[in-house]
Every structure is written in C-alpha cells, then in structure tokens.
Symmetry: C2
Subunit: 222 residues, 2 copies
C-alpha cells in the first residue's frame, strides 16, 4: 500500500473510532488512548493527524457536514441544482434526477428517509449531530442549522410551485419538520426505535394531509 | 432560622447551582467545587447532602420529574383525575378545573405552553431534560418517556371523547408531538428562540387543523 493511501486509511480509522467513542461516552469522557486502541494505531500516529481531541471533534463535524450535504443534495430551487456549488463546499454527488423533475414534497420525504438511514448506519454523521447538542463542546459547524436551512429551501420551493395545501405556511412546516427530526435523533440516542423508518412513516402519515392539496403529492410518506 | 429550615435551603441552593452548572458545562465537566462556590456553601455541607456528583444528578432528575408532574397534572382520562395519586408519587397541585371540563386538545396545547414557560424559567427542570440526553450519564428516571406517556394519555382521552379529526391516529400524533417538543428543547439549548411561545404557536398553528374536526377545539394554538 502506498504511504499516502495508508495515511488516508489511518485518518479514516481514527475519525470513525473517535466518533464511536464520542457517541457512547460523550466528548468530555472520551479518552485519546481509547480512541487509539479502537483504531489500532499508536498515540504518535494519532498526534500526527490530530493535534487534540478538539481537532478530532472538529474533523468529525466537518465530515458530518459534507455527508449531510450529500444526503440532501443541493438546495431545491437554488442555483446549485445547475451544478454550481457554493465556494468552499464539496461537490455534491450528482442526483439521479434533477430536483426540478421531482415532486418537492416527495423529495423532502425521501431526503428525511435517507437522513434516518444514515443516522442509523454512519456513526460519523450521528456523532456530528450529537456534538452539536453537547453543552461542553463549542461546535464550529451548525449541522442542525444546515438541515433546517435545507428544509426551508425545500418548503419555499414547494410553495413557489404551488405544491403546498391552502393555508399552510412554509415557515410553520419548517418549524415542525426541523424540531421533529432533531427530536427523533435526540430520543434515538437512548432508544433506537425513534430512528426507525416506521416511526418516520408515522410522522409523514400525520403531516402529509396537512401539507399537500388533496389528491396531490405523496400521500403515505413511503 | 431553625436548623431544619436552613438545611432545606442549603439543599435547594445546591440543587439549583448544580443544575446551572450541568446546564452550561454538562455533567462530566461540572466540578463539585464550582457547585459549592456558586451555592455559597462549603464542601462539607455539600457532602452532608449529596454523596457524589451522581447523587446530585439523581436528585435533579427526581425534582424535575415531580415538576413535570405538576405541569402536566394527572393523566387525562385516568383515575388520577379523581385525586387518586399513584403510590409513591407526590400529590399534584389541584387543577383549577377538573380535566373532565376542559377541551382535551386545548389541555394539550396549554400544557405544552406551561412546559415551555418552565423550561425557560426553571433550570432544575431544564437540567433534568438535558441529563436525559447526556451520553455519559445513566438516568434513573425517564423524563422524556414521562412526557410522551402523558401526551399519549391526552390523545387517547381526546379520541375517546370524539375530539380528534377523522382519520387522525392518536399514535401518529403522539410521535409528532413528543419528537417535536424534545427537538425544541434540544435546539433551545443553543438558541433560546426555539423555546419561545412564538415558535410553539407556529407548531400548534400547523398541527391543529389536522388534529381536530373543522370548527371544533382550539383553532389557533393560543
């Protein structure tokens, strides 16, 4: 294995191990030696890649931010759907269909399902969200805000296309969807049933009849 | 001041100081000496009342559990509305009107408003909820579960009285209300706007038309 490839793998192993330990023990209790042990690397290798536990947390949050951006795709209705990324942000994976072709509310439902899948399967993403709620850690990225902003752009886009039911205000829906998904994630930390697709399906089953005009859009949240 | 009264005040001061420090620093970072300093009591006095930092966290969660029970009142539709408390639980403050007289959905809206008021003003209640999400602390009480159970009984009572809109399943509403309020509380830790009555009003404004039959119940969430 080339030296550079090995360094990339070591860094990835350290990020994942740190995320696993932050996820179960919290930031303050996490010990650097436990992170090294779990990753199977020496303390020297850890310090080559990360100057401190804070540097590991920063790197986890940055990785989580990029992963969330891959899950959501570009902001619906924004210039980014034409492939123009914001300066300094990583390129999102090209969506299989252009957002313009997809029912905007179906896109919101599908994106929330992908987010739940990844929160269950990707410890780096999950640790990024958890770090954002830790009182003892000052995050440099705002994952919850990034998710809320994406929901807001999705709802405004739906409203522009006339895809929202009469009398439904986008800002009210943003509040409900953003608060609920953060609540699912917080409750899911101690009871994984809260992050199941069944629970999310209940949520959309309640939401959709209020969200879309009768007979249009997704009706069952699946 | 009588000796016993002084002891009660010292214990209260320690609980509040610990809650303030857990709330800002988290459980693991909180130091017993900072808690003593803030409460204005000696380390000996702290250890007279609480054997450890864990004992303080336990006491905060128990106090938060009692306060939540005072906010919600007895379970709607349960035997408790006749003044029969569960064994081992403190007496709830007598409600001004019997739950049987109150519109069940209005009762849910009003209770959520009281909870938000108290989360803003009562650091012991807030710290109790925060401890329930801390990865490094094993709670002995389940405040989130207690709140969810109360919502469930409120919704089942509303359903029994025919106060829910056609096609609205109580279990779906429980999921949305429980997840959202936990999300408001988690987001409110870093941005107090999430715990404002305005934000909660947006939530109910979206929810109510889906929740109650047209022309019945509370229509504006105020």
């Amino acid at each position: 294995m080339a030296k550079q490839e090995r360094a990339v793998r070591t860094r990835e192993a350290l990020l994942r191990s740190a995320a696993e330990i932050f996820d179960t023990d919290g930031f303050v209790s996490a010990s650097l030696s436990a992170i090294c042990n779990r990753a199977g690397v020496s303390s020297g290798a850890l310090h080559f890649h990360f100057a401190s536990k804070g540097a590991l947390a920063d790197a986890i949050e940055q990785a989580a931010e990029q992963r969330l951006r891959l899950i959501t795709g570009p902001e619906p209705g924004g210039d980014e759907r034409y492939g123009i990324g914001r300066p300094g942000t990583p390129e999102a994976a090209p969506p299989e269909t252009s957002p313009a072709d997809v029912d905007p509310i179906q896109n919101l439902v599908d994106t929330s399902r992908r987010l739940f899948d990844q929160l269950n399967n990707d410890v780096v993403l999950r640790a990024g969200f958890t770090l954002g709620c830790e009182p003892s850690w000052q995050s440099r990225v705002d994952l919850h805000g990034q998710w809320r902003d994406w929901i807001e752009s999705a709802l405004r886009h739906a409203s522009d296309l006339g895809a929202l039911a009469d009398g439904t205000k986008p800002e009210d829906v943003v509040t409900v969807v953003a608060a609920s998904t953060v609540g699912f994630e917080a409750l899911g930390r101690k009871d994984p049933a809260w992050l199941s697709q069944e629970r999310l399906g209940q949520f959309w089953q309640f939401m959709l009849p209020r969200l879309v005009p009768p007979g249009t859009g997704p009706q069952k949240g699946t």
